[in-house]
Symmetry: C2
Subunit: 156 residues, 2 copies
Amino acid sequence: MIILSKLADYGVIIATQLATQPERQANAATLAEETRLPRTTVAKLLKALAHGGVVTASRGASGGYRLARPAEAISIAEVVAAIDGAIGVTQCSIHGPDCTRTTFCSTKPHWKRINDAVGTALAAMTLAEMTPANLFAQWLKLPPKPGPTEGQGAAP
Amino acid sequence: MIILSKLADYGVIIATQLATQPERQANAATLAEETRLPRTTVAKLLKALAHGGVVTASRGASGGYRLARPAEAISIAEVVAAIDGAIGVTQCSIHGPDCTRTTFCSTKPHWKRINDAVGTALAAMTLAEMTPANLFAQWLKLPPKPGPTEGQGAAP
DNA sequence: TTAATTTAGGACTGTTCCAGTACTCAATAA
DNA sequence: TTATTGAGTACTGGAACAGTCCTAAATTAA
Ligand code: SF4
Ligand code: SF4
């Protein structure tokens, strides 16, 4: 059971690539080469990322994409949501009363806790932490985030 | 982007139904009526749950299913894995070097953290906590998990 | 102005996998 | 024996995914 779709996975790769050189403006073809992904697929994903507000686009000659915000301020959850849509564990977590069982389903109220925990897991990791440079921090066993961390126990 | 498949969702519902009366042995048809799910689908799911070690089956007349262990010792992750297979965020999290990009993928090493966090979220919730009876604890804002088996006593 | 570049926005297609059903075989109790 | 119940497998329709392609619009350079 793989949670992320291939495209969402690739989307994170592309966004991470942009995060390595935040100032540069790269076009779709260049990013495709650097990430070794199909050009057409990269173009499609960048459109979705732009639509989701993760990257900003400039059209025309010498145009391209760059991150809409600093990499530290973009979470993996945002990138994934821009491609695969809102993240939720069950159908009722996203589309509300779309599921016909919503009126009498006994497990429905309990899913919220799991839903929040999963969402937190994806929202806690930023693009900056996905870059290769950040790998050093993990090798050195530095604390992953100096700010609010250790969010294992859900405490709403 | 819905994480759980419908069948996994239904599997948790069925397992939770069994958890409400752990001593009883119920057959597939009865569980289907109680959960208001299609009989054939329930039968299919119970087979998968039995295969995954979540429930034990007794064949023959007056046969049926019951939980393989106390509800407090069965996590949601187990139930989901019994139906949808091993849980992982990316392809490389489960099938290892199946993805052709595994040798040069820059994001691969970072997914582990997210993968663990998601797995923990699903492993932390037990079937006992999914039962309707446990809903009282949340209404009273009691600590979600006082201990492995301490939840039975009535809360003041 | 003209031409080249680059993204925006759909439309399209083949494939895979999900969800549900049906059938036969094996085991058990009355 | 015989009715009951799960085990195992096979099958099908349909939805969603993954990938490609085309035309229009915006921007820059000549
Ligand atoms: S209402 Fe129940 S069956 Fe429907 S999506 Fe929510 S948990 Fe699943
Ligand atoms: S190796 Fe990279 S592209 Fe392949 S599944 Fe892992 S993260 Fe995704």
